[in-house]
Amino acid sequence: MPRKRIINGAQAIREALDQSLAKDPRVFVVGEGVPDPKGVFGTSIGLREKYGKNRVWDMPVAENGMTGACIGAAISGMRPVLVHQRLDFALLSLDQIINNAAKWFYMFGGQQSVPLVIRMVIGHGWGQGAQHSQNLQALFAHIPGLKVVMPSQPQDAKGLLIAAIADPNPVIYLEHRWIHSAQGNVSKKYFTTEIGKAAITKRGSDVTIVSSSYMALEALRAAQLLAKINVDAEVVDLRTISPLDTPAITRSVKKTGHLLVVDSGWTNGGIAGEIIARVVEKHMDVLKKPPARIALPDMPAPSSPGLTKFYYPNIEMIMRKACNIIGKDPVVVAKVLAEDTSLSATPHDVPNSSYMGPF
């Protein structure tokens, strides 16, 4: 990239849709509110005006039916992008996703693939509560036939969405609400980020922190702060949850000998456990210390800020756990955090200080 072009995640996603619609006449976008003036957190604003009603669709609140309809369109040669304003709403369509989309290509003898992208926004903060903030990447990743991507950086948000649309398979595109406002340098051109490849967002030699989506942003900030106390963490941003980039994880762990996995989903049966299992099955010998994970406590998300403060993993927890693994006393962590005034300026339940609710 020659010149810096800083945009946020939502803009990057919009750009991916815009360029995909422009490039491929088979692409269409559908979802509740996609053509409305707010355009799904800004990610689809203006697209109907630009591409017309036949390319940019609103829909009834009928998630299972509309998913099936998208599958039908996909096997007819179209490239639907179905959008859910919350992942939680997509649970109504798991029948079509798991029973049909994931299996269609295999069970019909490889004759028809389902080039379908389902974008699901993961809510976080501002009292979203139990039914508006589920991180169910582990659920989707467990289903063969689906691919699951979960970007953190705007550049990857764009590249992975374009790649997902171009992919002949069903891809679950999980966008954490808080990556929408994350800023980053994004290429202007149409490009793809390869599905199935992790990125090293910070090199380091002491401990490997594997993460994804919003937690990859947190892990990166934690790693930067850890550097101040001479802990040299390597951050692996998975970007794709399924298929997992096991080689990239392994390479890093072989180098550092220490593994911490940070995930935005529930602990039990989550992605973090799977990653740990993969590493120890084949490379237990390279681990100098037992691997560790940080993920959500196994309980529904509460609404009150008094509770979410303790519910979500944060930078401090990541730093402390990293120190623990490598055998460093974590008392210094508090000191480093206290010095960083930017951290305390924003309430824990909003992505940035300009956010005023309500959604």
Binding site: G33, D36, P37, P60, E63, Q128, Q131, S303, S304
Partner: protein, 310 residues
């Protein structure tokens, strides 16, 4: 009804303080339905609702303080702060719960009536839903089962023309939902949601039908959400609906209409209205004070063990 209006107007006033840190879906403009329907119910009749539930909760007699405290995320809230505005419950008032997954409570409300049927109880289970919610297949499934076993369910559909910012013509063919309900075998009616007395009467008729064991009913009321889909502000400026449309509906203000009628019929005087208003004002202020003074849940309240009953 005036009380509901005043509570929500207070939310509007104080939301910018950034202390109600959860989404709020206000019913301002739609109070006539909640008030009229619940007036026709007995205490032991149950009510459930969805994301836009403040009015239904209050009309059914839900505790005001606990609702406001819940919206403020305090441990004194009706869900101990775990739910926020989109999760209301008051078992004492037989308000059995509201949740924000569109259609999510419809079959649950049918299940309440099913249990009553098994236990030979006769209360009516009322479920409030928006016109958009009838797009969910689960509505069809719930209706089928309720009609099949003549369960005592009243489906109250509030047609406010929009689902978030999407107008009806992007979501539903131009045919009445009451026609579908009727074809399913439901008792059906349709009325003006801005006329609380009409709502009350039509509900009474439906409830009489239901109580007699003849089967469930579906009533649709025309209404209008004045403010934004979610949040305290007006949003006509977004452009998804016209200012004229908004003003035309606002003119039909259900609260003002009832007030006018009451004054005309002499059942209320200007003076009593003033005194009622100030009484409510006091109650609302107290509720907000209570909420703001209440503590947040303690750290110990965040424990996986609370996900399970024992």
């Amino acid at each position: 009804m005036l009380r509901i209006r005043m509570v929500e107007e207070k939310i509007v006033e104080l939301y910018p303080e950034q202390q109600m840190r959860c989404p709020v879906h206000l019913s301002i403009g739609q109070e006539g339905v909640a008030a009229g329907v619940c007036e026709a119910l007995d205490t032991k009749d149950t009510v459930m609702s969805g994301h836009r539930a403040h009015a239904h909760y209050l009309a059914k007699g839900g505790n005001l303080k606990k609702m406001i405290a819940e919206i403020y995320g305090r441990e004194t809230g009706c869900c101990l702060g775990r739910g926020g505005s989109m999760h209301l419950i008051d078992l004492d008032a037989n308000f059995k719960g509201s949740t924000p997954i569109v259609g999510g409570t419809i079959p649950v409300a049918v299940g309440l009536a099913w249990a009553a049927h098994m236990k030979k109880e006769k209360q009516v289970s009322v479920i409030f839903l928006g016109e958009g919610t009838t797009e969910e297949g689960v509505w069809h499934e719930s209706v089928t089962f309720a009609v099949l076993h003549k369960l005592r369910v009243l489906f109250v559909c509030e047609n406010n023309l929009y689902s978030v910012y999407t107008p009806l013509n992007e979501r539903q063919p131009d045919r009445p939902r009451t026609g579908i309900a009727k074809a399913h075998g439901l008792y059906v009616d349709h009325g003006d949601g801005n006329k609380a007395l009409e709502v009350y009467e039509k509900t009474q008729n439906a409830v009489t039908h239901i109580r007699s064991g003849k089967g469930p009913a579906f009533i649709e009321f025309d209404t209008y959400r004045w403010r934004e889909h979610c949040g305290p502000n007006f949003d006509n400026a977004l452009g998804y609906r016209s200012e004229e449309e908004f003003l035309a509906w606002q003119k039909k203000d259900p609260v003002a209409q009832l007030e006018k009628q009451a004054l005309k019929s002499g059942s209320l005087t200007q003076k009593t209205i003033v005194s009622i208003r100030s009484q409510i004002e006091q109650e609302v202020t107290d509720a907000f004070t209570f909420a703001k003074k209440s503590p947040y849940p303690k750290k110990g309240a965040l424990n996986p063990k609370f996900s399970y009953a024992s």
